[in-house]
Structures are given as structure tokens and as C-alpha cells.
């Protein structure tokens, strides 16, 4: 970045911080939904620029954090089968399943064929290159990555691939935001919504959320100036008592979203109730394969139990409070294990694993002791 541009951004961020301080007349508790935003806030120390009464709590928008443990356990079980190539996104490989310390990197070390993909479509080449093996893609993520999984399955079907399946754990963000607002003791007074989900889904479902719950929502991106501008807009809406939806990320997010991606989702997936790790069952919180694509369901192919049952509680012996953190009820440093028993090398809970997780963000970007 050029020095001139950097100085322009610095000036803009400082100006937004000053406006925020002048606008906020009382304390507000705001949640940024997306883990990418959490990381941006801590990475750039934006929380240090906010007026004292403005409290940010960190939302569940970290896909690897909310993937149910039993889905990871299913992946671990498949990964060690000699005929299986288990593939997924990079930061999925270190997430513990139901038992702390059991993750896909461990399965790889134990001899399992675990491969890292940067695009789901790479699974097609794998399946074609190894016709005698079974390629299983652990498909995680929000509406941002779900269309890519849908595209993978459409292509796999067109090619007639019989050795490729998906272990599906895609989740939908808007229903989880609604669920958080309905929790007793909810503290969230306004949301920063995730811009990249908005780019795919558009803003209609967030509009419904705003109308139903009368909570302002501002859609934004991940750059420091985007986050600061959206916080200012959110505080302006709260101070004025106007709970409306605002799009502060117009350069990326259109009201109608990405039609092609939505059509793919509709072709391949149906909306279902889904357990989120840390949050429990979320009504309409996930996807299943429609009948025409059910042959690609790894749970059916390998006769594994469905994860529709309620998720088991975190092991009693673990001091990890990741559930409370994912619900925005606690901050990572509130956890007795944070930074001692639980570190990115030996994570007890998923939020310490992912580059999107709140615990990892607090650990990596810690504020120096004065």
C-alpha cells in the first residue's frame, strides 16, 4: 500500500473514531457477527479507538467454530479408513472433535490420508486421479462457501463420479442471529452483519430480522475503515431510536445478492434445523442435500449416524467456555483455560483454532500489559 493511501486511511479511521466518540451519548453493546471482523478489530486494535461505553461482543461467525463436534468425529472416523481420502479447508484440520486433542492433523499423523483444499472443486481432480479410493469432502462454512460445495456436487453429478461424497456441515447465519436475540438475557443491541454472506444472500433476510426483532443491523466489510464506519452508523441508528437495516458495504453487497449462487444453493440444498457447536440447535440453521443429490451424502454412503440429534455437551473435565464465547456471553480472557491450558497449539475449544475464532484473535493480538 502506498504511503499516501495509508495516510488517507489513517486519517479516515481517526475521523470516524472522533465522530463515534461525539455520537455515543450512553453505553451500547454491539455484536460483530463475523469472525473476520473480530480479527480485524483485534488485529488493528480498533477496540482501543472506541469510546469507553461502547462494548463489542464477538459473534458466532466462525464456520469452523460452530461445526458440530460429532460431524468432526465422523470425519475423524472416515479419515483413518484406508480407502478414504478426507479433504477439507486448512483451518478445519486442527479443530478438535468431541474429545480434546483429537483432530484431523492427528488423524493424518496416525496414517490417515487427510488433504487440504483451497477450493472444493479440487476434490473432483482427486476423485478422478484415484478412482479406487473414496474422496470425502468435509464441507463447512456459511453461505459464502456453501455455493462452492453446491457447484462441486453439480459437477460431480454431471461427471457421474461415484467415489466422491460430502460430509455436510454448512450453516446459515441469519437464523443464528435471530436465535441469539431470542436467548433470555440477550445483551446485543445492534449487529454488524457479515459482508461476504450479504454478497451471496443479499439483504432481504436481514431486513426480516430487523422488522421482527426491532434491532438495527449494519452490513459491512473487514477493512478497518469499513468496521469503524459501520460502528458509527450503528451507533447513529441506536441513538436515533431507528432500528433499520443499513448497508455500509455497498461496493460489494447488493440488495438481491448473487443470483447464480442462490440458484446453486436451491438446486442442491434444502434448509433444515441444525445444531451449532456452542449454540445448540438452530431452527433453519443449516442445509441438507435434496433428494437428487443424496447419493453424495457421506453419512449415507458410509452408514454413519446423522448429527440431527442434540449435540453432546462439552466434556465435563474441560474448563473450556467456548459455548458462552460463541453466544457472546463471555469474552475469551474470561475463560480459566485461556492462554494457559488452551492455546492455538493445544486448543480445547474451536474458537482457539480458527483464524476466525475469537479466542485465537485475543491470543494472537493480545493487548500489551501496561
Amino acid at each position: 500500500m502506498s504511503a499516501a493511501l495509508q495516510s488517507q486511511i489513517n486519517g479516515r479511521v481517526a475521523e470516524l473514531a472522533a465522530q463515534l466518540a461525539a455520537t455515543a451519548s450512553r453505553p451500547w453493546t454491539l455484536m460483530e457477527v463475523c469472525g473476520g471482523q473480530t480479527h480485524s478489530i483485534l488485529r488493528w486494535g480498533l477496540d482501543q479507538l472506541l469510546p469507553p461505553g461502547l462494548r463489542l461482543i464477538h459473534g458466532p461467525g466462525c464456520p469452523v467454530c460452530v461445526t458440530p463436534a460429532e460431524r468432526i468425529d465422523a470425519a475423524l472416523e472416515l479419515a483413518v479408513r484406508p480407502e478414504v481420502i478426507l479433504c477439507s479447508y486448512g483451518d478445519m484440520l486442527r479443530v478438535p472433535g468431541g474429545a480434546a486433542g483429537h483432530d484431523l492433523l492427528g488423524a493424518r499423523a496416525a496414517g490417515g490420508d487427510v488433504q487440504l483444499l483451497t477450493s472444493p472443486l479440487q476434490a473432483i481432480a482427486l476423485a478422478q486421479a484415484c478412482p479406487e479410493r473414496q474422496v470425502v469432502f468435509l464441507a463447512v462454512g456459511f453461505e459464502t462457501t456453501a455455493p462452492a460445495t453446491a457447484l462441486l456436487l453439480r459437477q460431480a453429478r454431471a461427471l457421474g463420479l461415484t467415489n466422491l461424497t460430502v460430509l455436510l456441515a454448512h450453516v446459515r447465519v441469519a437464523p443464528a442471529m435471530a436465535a441469539l436475540l431470542q436467548e433470555p438475557g440477550n445483551q446485543v443491541q445492534g449487529f454488524l452483519a457479515a459482508g461476504h454472506v450479504g454478497a451471496v444472500m443479499g439483504t432481504a433476510e436481514l431486513g426480516q430480522l430487523v422488522r421482527r426483532h426491532r434491532v438495527p443491523v449494519v452490513v459491512t466489510g473487514f477493512e478497518p475503515a469499513d468496521v469503524m464506519a459501520a460502528l458509527l452508523r450503528l451507533v447513529q441508528l441506536l441513538e436515533a431510536g431507528t432500528p433499520v437495516l443499513a448497508n455500509a458495504y455497498g461496493r460489494v453487497v447488493r440488495q438481491q445478492g448473487n443470483g447464480a449462487a442462490q440458484a446453486l444453493l436451491k438446486e442442491v440444498f434444502a434448509v433444515v434445523d441444525q445444531p451449532w457447536r456452542g449454540l445448540g440447535p438452530i431452527a433453519a440453521g443449516g442445509y441438507e442435500l435434496v433428494a437428487a443429490y443424496r447419493d453424495f451424502d457421506a453419512l449415507l454412503r458410509f452408514c454413519l449416524p446423522s448429527a440431527a440429534a442434540a449435540p453432546p455437551p462439552e466434556p465435563l473435565a474441560s474448563p473450556c467456555i467456548s459455548g458462552l464465547i460463541l453466544q457472546g456471553r463471555a469474552l475469551p480472557p474470561d475463560c480459566p483455560a485461556f492462554g494457559s491450558a488452551c492455546t492455538p497449539e493445544r486448543p480445547l475449544g474451536a474458537p482457539m483454532v480458527s483464524s476466525e475464532g475469537a479466542c485465537a484473535a485475543y491470543y494472537r493480538y493480545r493487548r500489551p500489559a501496561p
Partner: protein, 331 residues
């Protein structure tokens, strides 16, 4: 000769002799070296530096370098960080059965070229072959001897509060080149590894009479790990300014795409220079040509040995070394 490495190439028989005489001879400045078990060295008077390192990297060839050049330059750079002119290197090659001979030839030529670039000679070596599946193509271990040219010891324990921190060039390029190659990201234009000999840059400073307290090359773990190691070894606090850190635009963009930061990414041709305050301007002037910069200063360790980073927004955070494996993020 078959076109790939066979177990018999390490068996001590005729195939091994052929391998050494035909393929590996190019490593040695003096071909007579291959004929004996040990090298006899004439060394200059004065203190010597001695260092060893093992090299494993995938892919074996990457944009801007390969495991061969890395194995020569990496050890030569470790010697340079002790203020020593690299003189001689030993090379142990561990080959996996099935390694294409054409690839081995390219790597050998690359090692020989790197040795010339570092102005050192490879004087002794060893070759072993292991069964297919027991190694990752080729592993290389090099050990090197250098003649120390620095008038005072260059060592972390020489670092004092008030000292100034300088960086010799841009960050993260080797790491991005490897990650892009490993994950099949076709960056346009490609990001090339920064792998390069450091002794010439160190020699210029020593010859100019710059007083140097410490040097540290950035390898695995990048600037983040190098600074943390220095802070701990010297029991000081290091304060750096993020806006001063040189990062090329393609590196910054790739990091953003994969969810990485440039600071913990590997370099193979960059180093940190720690100088007393009065030497800062002179050291900085010498760095300007290579794209280097002043990045921060050394403070007393009032809250323990740590590295603090001030962002371009004036906020502050603690810089931690890389933890765990670098894994690209999901979205």
C-alpha cells in the same frame, strides 16, 4: 544409467561410483575432493564460525529457488549472521528411491551455482539412498565453516536498551512463494522467493565500520519469531512500528487471500540488524539500496522479554511468534 535414483545408487558399488563421478562431481570446485573421505583445509588465522542445518522443503523447486540453493545459501547465511565470511561447506544428500535423475542434476547445478554466489567451496559430502516412501524426494544437510571478520562478538547478548532495529528488505516473500506452489495458487505475476546470500550485505557494513551488536536472519517463523527470539535471548523489550515494515503488494494481497500475516512468514534472504543508537543513520543509509528500513528500537524489559507492535492507527499489540502449522483459512 537409468533415469531415476535406485537403491543401488547408495549401495557402495559401481552405480554409486557412477552417481558420484557423473552427477555429483559438479558440486566440487576441486574434483579431486570426491576421491577421499575427508577434506584437508587451510584456514585463515582468527576465530571461526561453524554451523549446520537440515533442509526439507516441498515442492523441491519453487518460484525463485529450490532445495539445493536453499541448502547452500541457508547455512552460508547462518555463518554470515555471526559476522563470518563463509569458506567451506559439507553436503549430505539423502535421496529417495525414484527421484528423477534430471531433477537431481538440476539441484546439483543449483547448489554449485549457489556456492559460487556465496564465494564458498563444497569440500566434502555424503550420499545415501532410502526406499521409496521413506523420504520426500531429497533431504539435504549442510555444515559450514566461516572466518569471523567482525571485530566484536555479534550475539544477542550484545543487545542493549536504546539499540536500534533495522530490517534488510521486504518481508514474507519466501513463505508466499512456497505456500502458493504448495497450494497450487498460480499467482500472476509469480511471487519469487527472496532466497539470497547475505554475506555481501554484512561485509559492506563491517567494511564501512558500522558497529553491529547483533544480526539475525529471518527464516521459518519470519520476523515475528526472529524478534521474539532476540527479545528473549537479550532479555529486552523490542518495539516496532508496523507502518515501517516493507511488504510488497503481491505478498500483502496473497496473505489477505489465505488469512496469513506477512510477519510470521518465512524469508531466506532477509535479516535484522541491531546497532547502537549512534550507528543508526550509517546502517540505515547502507540498507536503503536493498529496500531495507529502520523498524524500531530496543527498550528495557520492564514487563518481560516481549515484542510490541504499534499499528498504523497508533494502537498497540503484542507480536507473538507463529504457533502451530500455517493453514489457509476457509473464507
Amino acid at each position: 544409467m537409468s533415469d531415476c535414483i535406485q537403491l543401488a545408487h547408495g549401495g557402495g558399488g559401481t552405480l554409486m561410483q557412477q552417481l558420484i563421478n557423473q552427477e555429483l562431481r559438479a558440486l566440487y570446485a576441486d574434483p579431486a575432493q570426491v576421491l577421499h573421505d575427508a577434506a584437508r583445509l587451510e584456514l585463515p588465522p582468527g576465530p571461526l564460525a561453524f554451523s549446520t542445518d537440515g533442509y526439507v522443503v516441498q515442492p523441491l523447486e519453487f518460484p525463485g529457488g529450490d532445495i539445493g540453493s536453499l541448502a547452500v545459501i541457508g547455512t552460508a547465511n547462518d555463518l554470515a549472521m555471526a559476522g563470518a565470511r563463509p569458506l567451506h561447506l559439507s553436503v549430505a544428500l539423502l535421496l529417495e528411491e525414484g527421484l528423477p535423475l534430471a531433477l537431481l542434476r538440476r539441484l546439483v547445478a543449483s547448489m554449485a551455482a549457489a556456492a559460487r554466489a556465496c564465494e564458498l567451496t563444497i569440500v566434502t559430502g555424503d550420499t545415501k539412498v532410502v526406499e521409496r516412501g521413506k523420504a520426500d524426494g531429497i533431504f539435504i544437510t549442510t555444515s559450514g565453516i566461516g572466518a569471523v571478520q567482525a571485530p566484536t562478538p555479534i550475539h544477542p547478548t550484545a543487545i542493549r536498551p536504546g539499540d536500534q532495529l533495522l530490517l534488510s528488505g521486504d518481508l514474507g516473500r519466501h513463505g508466499v512463494a512456497i505456500l502458493a506452489a504448495r497450494h497450487g495458487l498460480a499467482l500472476v505475476p509469480p511471487v519469487l522467493s527472496d532466497c539470497a546470500p547475505l554475506w555481501p550485505q554484512v561485509r559492506v557494513r563491517l567494511e564501512a565500520g558500522v558497529r553491529i551488536h547483533c544480526l539475525r536472519d529471518l527464516t521459518r517463523g519470519g520476523l515475528a519469531s526472529a524478534l521474539q527470539e532476540l527479545a528473549e535471548a537479550a532479555a529486552v523489550e523490542l518495539a516496532i512500528e508496523e507502518a515501517r515494515l516493507p511488504v510488497l503488494e503481491p505478498v500483502a494481497r496473497t496473505c489477505e487471500l489465505l488469512g496469513f500475516e506477512p510477519l510470521p512468514l518465512a524469508n531466506e534472504g532477509r535479516f535484522v540488524v541491531v546497532v547502537p543508537p549512534q550507528a543508526r543513520d550509517q546502517a540505515q543509509a547502507l540498507l536503503a539500496a536493498s529496500g531495507g528500513a529502520w523498524i524500531g528500537s530496543v527498550r528495557p524489559a520492564s514487563k518481560g522479554a516481549r515484542v510490541l507492535l504499534t499499528t498504523s492507527f497508533g494502537t498497540e499489540r503484542q507480536l507473538l511468534p507463529l504457533s502451530g502449522e500455517l493453514l489457509p483459512r476457509i473464507c
